[in-house]
């Protein structure tokens, strides 16, 4: 028993990810934490998307279930779980069954290597980013099989569209990622890394987010990735596979109830996953803003207070809304619920001020805040853009993003190795040229 406690406690001082420390207990804990956190994030994202989109579109969004519709996602999830499970008669039953699980597995597995902090990752793989890209590309298998197994025209077209789209944009995405990875190798030993944690540490060591590295190369790479990741997750304006007005619902037309909700879950966690990649590669991962410029204990303290203050601010919003609630007795429960939610947020905020918690959690907070920014972008796109047509989508992918990515890759490589290129290529060539001229004349 003592050994067990020792085993569990030993990790806390080890300053490693559970995977690296080889601590199975904490690995399991982290897996559960990530799973629960992801589910909560998806639920929150669902509510936020509906509310934000609603307010962009001059309407209120969900208002009835819970105060300001806070319980709406839960009600929806319950509804989906209780719905009748329909499998089309002509469908390929086994494949129809498996397809959503492939998508969900692919979307969830990538979080094994997502670094929420220097030690807050389930594990740190040597091939981290490759693993993320590879596993997230498996989702396309689920989509293709879902469309095929439905044995119907619209899902099949949706599946073919989606697979073509995802495979195409993976290429551009990969090129952008490679250009960021090359930036990690700019150190004394010239060794880059694919490890997610290593990439963030490289940004810390180079005192610069890769977004601003080699201006404007980093921004261009980030731009390519930011476009490709929207296409990769099949979201507006690249939501052709599920283009409602054309293909009814694309590859998941025939899906309903629980299995449909799995696709939904997978879509949102894939969004979070690709945003995590973008945050890790270009936006400094868990690093707080200005880790080098504004360093020192005072700044550290100031920045570490922000998580708690954010929650207190949200709690304040809740209390303000509570005061503004109609005073009618019918709204009593809703008012109480909102006040309770505010109290919960305030409690979380206060807990985040405890020094021991503050130190451990601020990484996670900054990472999540950056990812949340991307989530807002996704919603914003959806509210703003019309949908691309398929050939235009392919044109953007292959004729714009891919050449740009290739050129970017070469330029980044040359610029990153500019001293070597100068010494080994340009100068010898120039000398040879001069020599040639001298021989001729």
């Amino acid at each position: 028993m003592h050994d067990l406690v020792q085993y569990i406690q030993s990790y806390l001082d080890s300053n490693q990810t559970p995977g690296a420390a080889g601590n199975i207990f904490w690995a399991v804990v982290y897996v559960l934490l990530v799973f629960v956190g992801l589910s909560i994030a998806v639920i929150a994202m669902n509510w936020l998307e509906r509310k934000i989109l609603a307010h962009m579109q001059v309407r209120l969004g969900p208002m009835r279930v819970g105060p300001h519709g806070l319980l709406q996602p839960i009600a929806d999830a319950l509804k989906l779980l209780l719905k009748e499970d329909i499998i089309p008669e002509e469908a390929d039953k086994v494949v129809f069954w498996i397809a959503p699980f492939i998508v969900v597995l692919a979307a969830f597995t990538v979080f094994v290597v997502v670094p929420f902090g220097p030690t807050h990752a389930i594990t740190d793989m040597n091939i981290g980013i490759l693993f993320m890209l590879g596993v997230s590309s498996l989702a396309v298998l689920g989509i293709v099989t879902a469309g095929w197994a439905s044995n119907s025209h619209y899902p099949l077209i949706g599946a073919l569209r989606s697979s073509a789209q995802m495979v195409s944009y993976e290429v551009a995405m990969g090129l952008a990622v490679v250009s960021a990875i090359m930036m990690t190798s700019l150190n004394e030993s010239n060794t880059g890394t694919l490890s997610m944690i290593g990439i963030v540490q490289a940004q810390l060591a180079q005192r610069e987010w890769f977004l601003f590295k080699f201006f404007p190369l980093g921004i261009v790479a980030f731009g390519i990735f930011a476009i490709a990741m929207v296409a990769e997750t099949n979201r507006a304006p690249f939501d052709l596979p599920e283009a409602e007005s054309e293909l009814t619902a694309g590859f998941h037309t025939e899906y309903s109830g629980f299995r449909w909700s799995l696709f939904f879950l997978a879509e949102y966690s894939a969004m979070i996953a690709v945003s995590s990649i973008a945050v890790t590669l270009w936006l400094g991962g868990w690093l707080r803003p200005f880790p080098n410029a504004l360093s020192g204990p005072t700044w550290d303290l100031a920045f570490s207070l922000i998580p708690g203050l954010t929650f207190l601010f949200l709690a304040g919003m809740c209390f303000y809304s509570t005061v503004r609630m109609p005073k009618h007795p019918l709204f009593r429960i809703q008012t109480m619920g909102l006040a309770g939610f505010g109290a919960l947020l305030a409690a979380i905020g206060l807990v985040l001020f405890i020094p021991a918690v503050r130190v451990r959690v601020s990484d996670i907070f900054w990472f999540s805040a950056k990812v949340a920014g991307f989530m807002y972008l996704y919603i914003w796109y959806r509210g703003t853009f019309p949908r691309y047509r398929f050939d235009q989508l392919m044109k953007v992918g292959w004729k714009v993003l891919l050449p740009t990515g290739l050129a970017l890759l070469i330029v980044t490589a040359i610029w990153g190795m500019r001293s070597a290129v100068w010494a080994d290529v340009v100068v010898p060539m120039w000398l040879g040229f001069v020599d040639l001229l001298r021989r001729i004349f």
Binding site: Q57, Y154, P237, D239, E244, S245, R389
Partner: protein
């Protein structure tokens, strides 16, 4: 392989090959499809995603309006026409009332004419707003829908205040109007005009220069003016193809000749031009409304019309410029209280014929855009 353009979409006698080779994928779009604007069924013959041809199957909303007319008196039939193009019910009523008035040789008094024009133009704006919202939604922009519906609501409020109904208004009577304009009608309309002007800019801000919107609409569903004329296509679709034909100018009815307004035309005849034409039309309608509200005369609102209408034996064709195109009524009277035959020339039905021509060689996604841009209302197509 035979030339795909000569085949009917339903011509399935071609060998049943898979769509890799001879590329015949026949897809049934509708009648329950979110983007066919009601219950239109389109049978698409596809080469991958390219449309080889299509055929519209209509009649799912057929109610026999024309047949019903033969068993109703002229007055009784008036509300029925509202149910054809239900998003532009006022225009339908105007066309019918004017046709019967022509048959009876009466003319509505000037005050009635002015109020008719105001309401009709308001309805034109409402119809275009609904079109814009749904069309943008089809192309994937979901936000304009809510903006247009928010503003259309103001028009419907005016309708409701005027006659009690919001959609199928039955606003006009043969010979004039049933109701005098309510107190503050003019002020309401003026308020609306000043309210909606910046809103139209808002729609344009979201779409007109949006890159994706341009890519989705430019060069899509092109139809030449010649083809339009040959197919009888009218309205904004015709004007966007460069033919300056607006019945309000060409064969002025009501008192449109008293108002100053421009007839916008496009050059390319593509979806984008149709969009622009309709946006300009909305502004022009506002111009007409402004003039009409300023110049609205005092006087009676009902001409002298017999209680029991017995038009002389004869026939009449009268057409007006409805939001969607030329809306014509052909009425044959046998001298009795009931029309012998009424035939409606609905713009949606005629415009829908151009769908096949406009979609050939385009992609599936363009079919959606083209159906949207034709601005059809299935109630009017099927009647």
């Amino acid at each position: 392989m035979t030339d795909p353009n000569t085949l009917s979409p339903l011509d399935l006698d071609t060998p049943d090959k898979t769509f890799l080779d001879s590329n015949e994928l026949v897809i049934n779009m509708g009648p329950q499809h979110p983007a066919t604007h009601g219950v239109l069924r389109v049978i698409l013959r596809l080469d991958g995603e390219k449309v080889l041809g299509l055929e519209c199957v209509i009649g799912y909303l057929h109610r026999g309006v024309e047949k019903i007319a033969e068993n109703r008196t002229y007055t009784m039939f008036n509300p029925y026409v509202d149910r054809m193009d239900y998003v532009a019910a006022v225009s339908n009523g105007l066309g019918y009332c004017e046709a019967v008035e022509k048959l009876l040789s009466v003319e509505a008094p000037p005050r009635a004419q002015y109020i008719r024009v105001i309401l009709t133009e308001l309805n034109r704006i409402a119809s275009h707003q609904l079109w814009l919202g749904t069309h943008a939604l089809d192309i994937g922009a979901i936000t304009p829908l809510f903006y247009t519906f928010r503003d259309r609501e103001e028009i419907l409020k005016i309708f409701e205040k005027y006659c009690g109904a919001r959609l199928t208004t039955h606003a006009f009577r043969i010979g004039g109007l049933q109701y005098e304009a309510y107190d503050g009608f003019e002020q309401d309309v003026k308020n609306f005009v000043s309210f909606v002007k910046p809103k139209i800019d808002e729609y344009e801000e979201l779409l007109t220069t949006n890159r994706i919107w341009l890519e989705r609409t430019k060069g899509v569903g092109v139809i030449s003016g010649k083809d339009c004329v040959a197919l009888g296509v009218t309205g904004p679709v015709l004007r966007a193809s460069g033919v300056k034909w607006d019945i309000r100018k060409a064969q002025p009815y009501a008192n449109y000749k008293n108002f100053e307004f421009d007839v916008p035309t496009g050059q390319n005849g593509d979806t984008y031009d149709r969009y622009i034409v309709r946006m300009i039309e909305m502004r022009q309608s506002l111009r007409i409304i402004e003039q009409a509200v300023e110049g609205i005369p005092e006087g009676p609102i009902m001409a002298k019309v017999p209680k029991v209408m017995k038009p002389p034996v004869g026939e009449i064709y009268h057409s007006i410029e409805a939001p969607k195109g030329e809306l014509g009524y052909f009425i044959v009277s046998d001298g009795s209280t009931q029309p012998y035959r009424i035939r409606v020339r609905p713009p949606s039905f005629v415009n829908l014929q151009a769908l096949d021509l406009m979609c050939r060689g385009q992609l599936v996604a363009d079919v959606i855009a083209v159906i949207g841009t034709l601005d059809i209302v299935l109630g009017e197509v099927d009647r």
